[in-house]
Symmetry: C2
């Protein structure tokens, strides 16, 4: 069984050879908001994928700077396709803000609306990052990549709307208090 990180690597390699560094960059400007990965994961995983014969690494130094490009083998492409054609099972989320809200029974309305406001601002920041990505790479990405970006935007917007509704429910008279970005 391959980890999801392994599948992400295979996924990016389907369009052509990449170095570990480049894969990390791609993740940071695309899947990051619903699937992150770090170097500490990527480099060892690449070696293991090579060991299993799903990718091959080729030394492609740039000047004196060492660099290894990886590309899919036939087995790797097959494995990727198999994964893509099977149902996606894991769906996890960890939302510390929501967790705090859940346990905030004893807090004041002001305190709770502060948390909600912070959550809203965090979502706005995430939205900004997505919009920035849209503006830089959106022209060169495909249909399904565009869809996931779209989902991200819609999701954050949904959350923002929900926070706003909740704040209003806590604080029906005073609508002037929410800080910034309205």
């Amino acid at each position: 069984m391959l980890s999801n990180t392994a599948h992400v690597i295979l996924g990016f390699l389907q369009y052509g050879p990449l170095s570990g560094y480049e894969i990390k960059q791609k993740i940071d400007v695309s899947t990051r908001f619903f699937f992150a990965a770090s170097y500490g994961q990527i480099y060892p995983e690449l070696k293991q994928l090579e060991h299993s014969g799903l990718v091959t690494g080729t030394a492609k130094a740039r000047g004196q700077r060492a660099r290894t490009e990886y590309e899919l083998t036939d087995a790797g492409r097959e494995r990727l396709d198999e994964w893509l054609r099977s149902p996606g099972v894991t769906l996890e989320m960890r939302d510390e803000g929501l967790l705090k809200l859940f346990f905030s029974e004893r807090l004041s309305n002001a305190e709770i609306t502060s948390r909600l406001d912070e959550m809203r601002l965090a979502r706005h920041a995430a939205l900004d990052r997505l919009h920035a990505i849209e503006n830089t790479v959106a022209k060169q990405i495909g249909r399904s990549e565009q869809m996931t970006l779209d989902y991200g935007v819609a999701l954050h917007e949904f959350a923002i709307a929900w926070y706003e509704r909740s704040v209003a429910a806590f604080d029906p008279r005073d609508r002037s208090k929410s800080k910034g970005r309205n």
Copy 2:
């Protein structure tokens, strides 16, 4: 620094003493959809929290069946409050279905709409579980707990609507294909 799991434990203990088993049960019918935990986490964490003086365990056997009830110490309550009053930082999600969609550039429309349909059904199942919880415990839970349940329902409904819109975008003429639950 306490882990989120530790905070969840403290959070549940604020309303009265509980055993590890009971904490796990509570998690499964409440925070589970945005924060899960297993026995392998809970029992060791309880011991560590006791070691740090944030909870105290008392043997409360039921007949011959061993049972340890934990309750918050003053330090534990203080620590919980501190956490509740600070901004919630971590917000992660891992959505394997979305990940597959992202890499599905080369798949057929039928294949992609299959994935979307599976995702939709999974969300429906999650919604059913939330509604079941609402019907059983909703009367005895507080305002902020109710809000998080609410969020869960709204979130799944948002996702379902998005999947439906996306399937329609792929398959504008044939609206009859989506399997079940319409």
